[in-house]
């Protein structure tokens, strides 16, 4: 906390010895933070470390129990988010919430459009102001385009433009890259650099360590609500950062075991769903982890959905252990030994209001049954067994899953599917939005499963994850498989070339 204390610029926004409790839980303990103009500051920590609480304190959502918020060195109290906004603090969330039927310009100037005589909205001025903002950000977006259909990346740009239109001096970006593709991340970082040069202070939150090293100058680490360190990023290594976050040395993040691939377990032949993906063929062998890479929208998730039977395919076939799967029938795919851990755990993986026990139990409705009735004891022991094996952290197995952290929710989804004893496991973005410690655990688990003879197909937008875990990388581009790259040849360059359609198939 001694950083640049005597000379140089003053922090535009600072927290001093902030504490905040929720009931018995102390979410923040004596945490301090200083944000300087022209600096991108990373906030690192595992799930539950207190990052969200800290952001919400900065944004005026939470009032601290103790400590001060300093704006330009003056103690301030934010009575609500509007106070923070008026003070020039803007939060860009992972998934922006725009009005889909309004244009970009209307979204930016919602409720405070430039007016002409008789209170009519001055569309010309709105349009021009929006163009000016876009120019400032170095981005080309048509101000008159409706927000509906914009990619998440573009929506974030609109949110940033909106923040600038409020003369925001502090931008808090809460995991802005979680749903972005590589090139979208690059563009976002370009915008962030522009903002930095223009003198904004940026607080940047990401679970992807390499991004922190790419874009940030300063990093503050939280663990269990306490401040661990705040230091320049220069001279730090990823291992240093991980150690501060998890409080111990993390064994490898990508603990891939070498396994000899067995016979073909999953065979997809010329699978086509019109307008979505075309002529997709590949095999996954027992013991193999096959990575499925590609840009968001390339059709990876859609192939997985069709293989599992959520959507119907129009042509082609899928075989599991030599047995053809029925088109559009998840229950028969399950019975054949296929499991799918879907990309959206809250909407697709879990029933949030149901207990951990019953969520895991949902895949066992055929097995934990005695004489046609549920066998509650068998269900409980099956669920407990897998919750313990995957080290899910919970108070009681009967607690609803929405009481768990994101990483633990993901473990429940994995438990739910591993409990079926699958021969083929498809995981779609298995570590999205979960902290680095849990991520390493999930990777170890996948590696162990493959070693035990499970065929694993792993869809991921996290390129280091694909490169670190996959024996083979399949790449999709615009609905087609464009490349199959063995582990030895897989690099960021080869995979991205195929994903963007620059390489021949």
């Amino acid at each position: 906390m001694t950083h640049r204390s005597d000379a140089g610029p003053a922090p535009v926004l600072a927290l001093k010895d902030i504490s905040k409790s929720f009931g018995a839980v102390r979410a923040l303990r004596d945490v301090s933070l200083e944000l300087f103009p022209g600096e991108v500051h990373a906030l690192a920590g595992e799930n539950g470390a207190g990052k969200s609480t800290l952001i919400k304190t900065l944004a005026g959502v939470h009032r601290p129990d103790a400590g001060q918020v300093l704006l330009d060195g003056e103690p301030t109290v934010f009575h609500g988010p509007a106070d923070a906004r008026d003070a020039g603090i803007a939060v860009i969330y992972q998934e922006p919430t725009l009005f889909p039927d309004l244009s970009i310009a209307e979204n930016i100037f919602m409720g405070r459009q430039p007016r002409r005589a008789l209170g009519r909205i001055d569309h010309k001025a709105t349009h021009a102001s929006t163009l000016a903002l876009m120019k400032r950000l170095g981005v080309e977006l048509d101000p008159d385009r409706p927000a509906r259909g914009l990619s998440i990346a573009d929506q974030q740009i609109v949110e940033i433009a909106k923040a600038l239109s409020f003369d925001a001096r502090v931008l808090i970006m809460d995991e802005p890259t979680a749903a972005l593709t590589g090139s979208e991340v690059a563009r976002l970082f370009g915008v962030v650099r522009t903002l930095r040069e223009q003198g904004s202070a940026v607080l940047f939150i990401s679970h992807r360590l390499e991004e922190i090293f790419r874009i940030c100058q300063q990093v503050t680490t939280l663990r269990d609500g306490a401040l661990i360190s705040s230091e320049p990023i220069d001279g730090m290594t990823e291992d240093d950062l991980v150690r501060r976050m998890v409080g111990r040395d993390l064994d490898e993040l990508y603990p891939k075991q070498d396994v000899d691939a067995g016979e073909v377990a999953l065979s997809v032949r010329r699978l086509t769903r019109e307008g979505v993906f075309t002529d997709v063929s590949f095999d996954v062998r027992r013991g193999e982890i096959v990575g499925l890479a590609g840009l968001v929208g390339a059709g990876r998730t859609e192939v997985a959905r069709a293989v599992f039977g959520i959507d119907r395919w129009d042509a082609g076939e899928v075989e599991l252990d030599g047995k053809k799967l029925t088109n559009g029938a998840p229950s028969t795919a399950m019975a054949a030994g296929l499991a799918l851990v879907p990309e959206d755990r809250r909407a697709q993986g879990l029933v949030m209001d149901m207990s951990i026990e019953r969520n895991i139990g949902l895949t066992g409705l055929r097995t934990t049954v005695k004489a046609g009735l549920m066998d509650p004891r068998a269900e409980r022991s099956r669920s407990l067994d897998w919750a313990v094996k995957l080290q899910v952290k919970y108070a009681r197995i009967a607690d609803t899953v929405n009481t768990l952290s994101g990483g633990n929710q993901q473990k429940v989804v994995l438990a739910k599917w591993l409990a079926t004893g699958p021969k083929v496991l498809i995981v779609d973005e298995p570590t999205r939005g979960i902290d680095v410690g849990t991520k390493a655990e999930v990777h170890r688990l996948l590696s162990q499963l493959a070693a035990d003879g499970v065929a694993v197909l792993m869809i991921s937008s996290d390129l280091p994850e694909i490169l670190g875990m996959a024996d083979r990388v399949l790449v999709m581009h615009e609905g087609r498989l464009t490349a199959e790259i063995p582990r030895s040849d897989a690099t960021e360059e080869t995979v991205m070339a195929a994903a963007t359609g620059r390489a021949a198939a």
Partner: protein
């Protein structure tokens, strides 16, 4: 938090159960003519149509759907029963035909909802009108009353001098089946999952459409059984039998704590809600409250029943929050 005695105490279905007991005790004490066996048998007999349809309706609402055509299906069954009886068919042939008709009515609702993906609220408002219209075409404005005495006696009589109608016994059997089906079978478990998060249920390999189709069909079957019972109980088959019954059924089920958004509730609560409504209607009749005013009361109850469980849940969440203070998570 669901396990703590404190949280259980404010569970809505227990509240309704307690309320039912309070209303019954108060009525015994203060309402003339309430406590005798004959009136109680009337109370139960008049409530049975609501109770019978409430069984499948509970399962349907738990799974996130609704069927508003039930009263029309019941009316149609009664009308067809009357028409066929006028044609000279035996009652033993007529009843299976009517039940089959109910199955068809339910199947139509189910197919429209599951195959065409239409919202069940809209579909069944449509068939509510259509089935009732067909009933009128079938029977016109006739009233058929001359059904065989042994059937009429069964549907309206009671066991000796007790307060128990004969028809209550088969209802108890159906109730037991429904309780087991909803709370102790994989089928019932899947309904809760479908109601709470249909997409997650699909991703868990649950055959969502098939389960819903089964439910709509069962609902049609039970509605037609109710229509048959209604015609015999009141010894009158008319096209407008059971008009407006769907309002009472839905009100009772929601009053019993079944969440209109699906995924929550118990059959015990729903049945407590049914008999609470039945008891109130009986008391109002004894006090000479007009039929119109009774409908107003039912409507108000419907609104309160949607409100009540939410308030109860918020109280229990707030208490759990104060106790444990679930930590805010960083996503």
């Amino acid at each position: 938090m669901a396990d703590s005695a404190l949280a259980r105490a404010v569970r809505w279905d227990t509240v309704v159960g307690a309320l039912l007991i309070v209303v019954l005790l108060l009525s015994f004490g203060t309402v003339d003519g309430f406590g005798n066996a004959l009136n109680l048998s009337f109370l139960i007999g008049n409530t049975l149509p609501i109770a019978l349809i409430a069984l499948p309706m509970t399962l349907l609402v738990v799974s996130g759907e609704i069927d508003l055509s039930v009263a029309s299906t019941a009316g149609l069954s009664g009308a067809v029963m009357g028409a066929l009886w006028n044609e000279g068919m035996t009652i033993e042939t007529i009843i299976p035909i009517c039940l089959l008709l109910g199955v068809v009515c339910g199947l139509i609702n189910g197919l429209l909802v599951t195959r065409l993906g239409l919202p069940s609220l809209a579909v069944t408002i449509g068939t509510l009108a259509a089935y009732r219209g067909i009933a009128q075409i079938v029977l016109g404005s006739d009233a058929v009353t001359d059904f065989p005495t042994q059937y009429l006696d069964f549907a309206s009589g009671r066991i000796g001098d007790t307060f128990i109608p004969y028809a209550f016994l088969p209802f108890l059997v159906l109730l037991a089946i429904a309780v087991v089906a909803l709370h102790a079978t994989p089928f019932g478990r899947s309904l809760f999952a479908i109601g709470a998060n249909e997409e997650a249920a699909r991703f868990a390999g649950i055959r969502v459409k098939r389960q819903k189709l089964i439910l709509f069909t069962l609902t049609g079957l039970m509605a037609s059984l109710t229509g048959i019972f209604w015609a015999l109980h009141y010894a009158s088959a008319r096209y407008d039998n059971a008009t407006g019954l769907e309002l009472s059924v839905v009100a009772a089920v929601l009053l019993g704590g079944i969440d209109f958004d699906g995924g929550k509730g118990t059959l015990g609560g729903a049945i407590a809600g049914v008999f609470l409504l039945g008891a109130l209607q009986n008391v109002m009749s004894l006090q000479d409250v007009s039929a119109q005013s009774q409908i107003v009361v039912t409507g108000v109850l419907l609104v309160l029943s949607v409100l009540g469980p939410r308030v109860a849940r918020q109280i229990s969440v707030a208490r759990a929050g104060r106790r444990a203070a679930s930590a805010p998570t960083t996503s």
